[in-house]
Amino acid sequence: MADIERIPVLKTWKLFVKGAFPRSESGRTLALHGHGGELVAHISHASRKDLRDAVEAARGAFPAWSGATAYLRGQIVYRLAEMLEGRRADLADGIRTTTGASRKKAEAEVGRAIDRTVCWAGWCDKFQMVLGSRNPVAGPYHNFSMPEPSGVCVVLQADAGETPLLGFLSLVLPPLCAGNAVVAVADARHPLGALLVAETAPTADVPAGALNVLTGQAAELAGWIAGHRDVDSVHAQAKGEVAATLRAGAAENLKRVAVLAPGEDFGDDDRWTNPRRLASFVETKTIWHPSGA
């Protein structure tokens, strides 16, 4: 055979909704450019309908995901870490393609991202003990408080910064491990790590709909996310107009909102393994029962 250069098989990256990989219902795509400006691939350009479908899938998955035992949730998230471990090279390549990071730096980020996943897998059956309490009320009552997931959480990574994979997982894991069903929108400029996580999720037995991943334009999606009345909370990394839109729109149905600035240091382990990171995505429920009366 002569030296014919092999033609690579190119794909358009798809959305991840309800355990399946649909294209955008709108048929729209966005061009993904590499660090040097070259065309790398196409990604799906999620529409308002795609967002709604994903929220619907998340709402549908919420009872089973939040109702599963904390032990099971922990095992599934740990399984996700196991599966990501097997795709370290892909993940590092994905990061490097768009950020231009050195191999060493990208591999270090992948390692941290997987370690972060392991850490949060462990929080699944522990945060309740740390954030809950047995309250000594002045009367014959048994009284205790416990954190419960608030429902459907939308993660919007509008401005990923230098560590898109670590950032994406750090935004997704606290609400997910708290028992929320998550719709995550990856930064359209650096989506490959997030899309690989999506491709990994079904093999880790993440239930369909518990985690959904979209790609699209944050500026366009922000208003639809904030205004969606079946979204309970928002975890975002955004600035300027997008951040303002999220905050103002969320007031409409009193969504719980945590918006981080683009400069957030996801490498800060103290901060990003801290159970306080999930406080915005849980509600304290306090139960009273008479005792002896």
Partner: protein
């Protein structure tokens, strides 16, 4: 069954309380006249007599109060925690010592029965200060992972008229314990006990500016929560106003906690202790004339016991005494204001219009003067009826039935609110299964409307966010 065949003799609370001809604002540790030089009437809702004239604070007063709070912030937050605690302990003690006076004043100003202000509002207010006093020097253990505790800064706190003194305590105690300073705005119809509390703060030598109280109506509140010098807003009141505040705070990035409305379900299963459940239903909806954000205003009764429950409820209601709030035997006092009475009457009329059966088995005679509403329940209520969906904030109960636990839970959760819920069953596993599945910040099982300083209170969904009370209530007043 006839009403009580004999009458109780009056048993009026006799502690005399002096009410000032007019009140002032409390700013920077001093009582001052309002900048507007305007005062508005506050009436006793059980007699319609003008009790006092309340200072109308305006934007200039809010400016002065915020400036005083800002000035006080550094010294107050840097005071050794153990010393800060001593002020809170003092306040708790003075509330206890002046309890009877505060209870009588609360009842005169707001219309609630003296037995409730005496046994619930005032003792709980004292407990909140006492409990939080002890947190001052233990904050580093209160919020897991929070690091060094630091205050948020100057807090704007706006409170409602249903538990005037108690809400002031719920707001002030955690804020002060965490080293914040405060500008508090009481509700316009119930400012008197807040100003009496200001006297107590002065008696306790609380440093000037740590707490400032500006009275007034909605405009005063708006000027306060939208003030640029505010670091954190805490609001208790209607969901409508809460959303407005949320938007204003969103624009500025101000920290916010909201404790808003509710339409709380109270679920009675056939295997409940029915007589106890009846007491819980009464406590759930007619406590404080139903002016309770967590009132159990939607009663869901398992179909097989619906006739028994409504029959017993009707019988129990005949023994409820409506009238002079200062009478120690009174169960149901006056509606807080004329405006609120009109709102409640509109809802009762709307219920009748939509085809509900309106039952008011209570006493026939009501006092000639004052604002009164008979305890009311409605049967034949459909989930779509306005009385089943909207917060009435009055002594009006919507009674509905269900067949399965699934149906009860689904219908209980089918509301934008999520403040509280009640569950009545003698079956332990069912209690906790249902409690787990109800979307509510507080779930009372085989009890209702219990409160405690150590027990966090607050809602899911559109009933607001953040908690008040207990360990979980402190996070809102500590810097992130």
């Amino acid at each position: 069954m006839p009403a009580t065949p004999w009458e109780y003799s009056p048993a009026p609370e006799t502690v005399p309380v002096t009410v000032p001809e007019r009140t002032q604002l409390y700013v920077g540790g001093k009582f001052v006249d309002p900048h507007s030089k305007k005062w508005f009437d506050t009436v006793n809702p059980s007699t319609e007599a003008v009790l006092s004239h309340i200072a109308e604070g305006d934007a200039a007063d809010v400016d002065a109060a915020v400036a005083a709070a800002r000035k006080a912030l550094k010294p107050w937050s840097r005071l050794p925690a153990q010393e800060r605690a001593k002020y809170l302990y003092r306040i708790a003690r003075r509330i206890q010592e002046r309890a009877r006076e505060l209870a009588v004043l609360e009842t005169m100003d707001g219309g609630k029965p003296i037995k409730e202000s005496r046994d619930v509002d005032v003792p709980l207010a004292a407990q909140h200060f006492f409990h939080h006093a002890g947190w001052c020097d233990k904050l580093r253990y209160a919020v897991p992972g929070a690091g060094d505790p630091r205050p948020v800064g100057v807090c704007a706190q706006v409170i409602p008229w249903n538990f005037p003194l108690l809400m002031a305590a719920w707001k002030l105690a955690p804020a002060l314990a965490c080293g914040n300073t405060v500008v508090l705005k009481p509700a316009e119809t119930t400012s008197l006990t807040a100003m009496r509390l200001a006297e107590i703060l002065q008696e306790c030598d609380l440093p000037p500016g740590v707490v400032n109280i500006v009275t007034g109506a909605g405009d005063t509140g708006r000027a306060l929560v939208e003030h640029e010098g505010i670091d954190k807003v805490a609001f208790t009141g209607s969901t409508e106003v809460g959303k407005r505040i949320a938007k204003a705070c969103a624009a500025r990035g101000t920290r916010l906690t909201l404790e808003l409305g509710g339409k709380s379900p109270n679920i009675v299963f056939a295997d409940a202790a029915i007589d106890q459940a009846i007491e819980g239903i009464v406590q759930g909806i007619w406590f404080n004339q139903g002016h309770v954000c967590c009132a159990g205003s939607r009663l869901f009764v398992e179909e097989s016991v619906l006739p028994e429950v409504t029959r017993k409820l009707e019988m129990r209601m005949r023994s409820l005494r409506v009238g002079d709030p200062l009478d120690k035997n009174t169960d149901i006092g006056a509606i807080n204001s004329k405006g609120q009475l009109q709102t409640i009457e509109r809802y009762i009329a709307a219920g009748a219009d939509e085809g509900c059966t309106v039952c008011q088995p209570g006493p026939q005679a009501l006092p000639a003067k004052g604002y009164w509403c008979r305890p009311t329940f409605m049967t034949g209520v459909q989930p779509s009826h306005v009385v089943a969906r909207e917060e009435i904030f009055g002594p009006v109960l919507a009674v509905m039935s269900f067949r399965t636990p699934e149906e009860a839970i689904m219908r209980a959760n089918n509301t934008p609110y999520g403040l509280a819920a009640g569950v009545w069953t003698e079956k332990g596993s069912k209690v906790f299964d249902v409690a787990r599945r109800l979307q509510a910040g507080v779930v009372w099982c085989n009890t209702y409307n219990q409160f405690d300083a150590t027990s966090p209170f607050g809602g899911f969904k559109e009933s607001g966010f953040g908690r008040e009370g207990g360990m979980q209530g402190l996070a809102a007043y500590l810097a992130e």
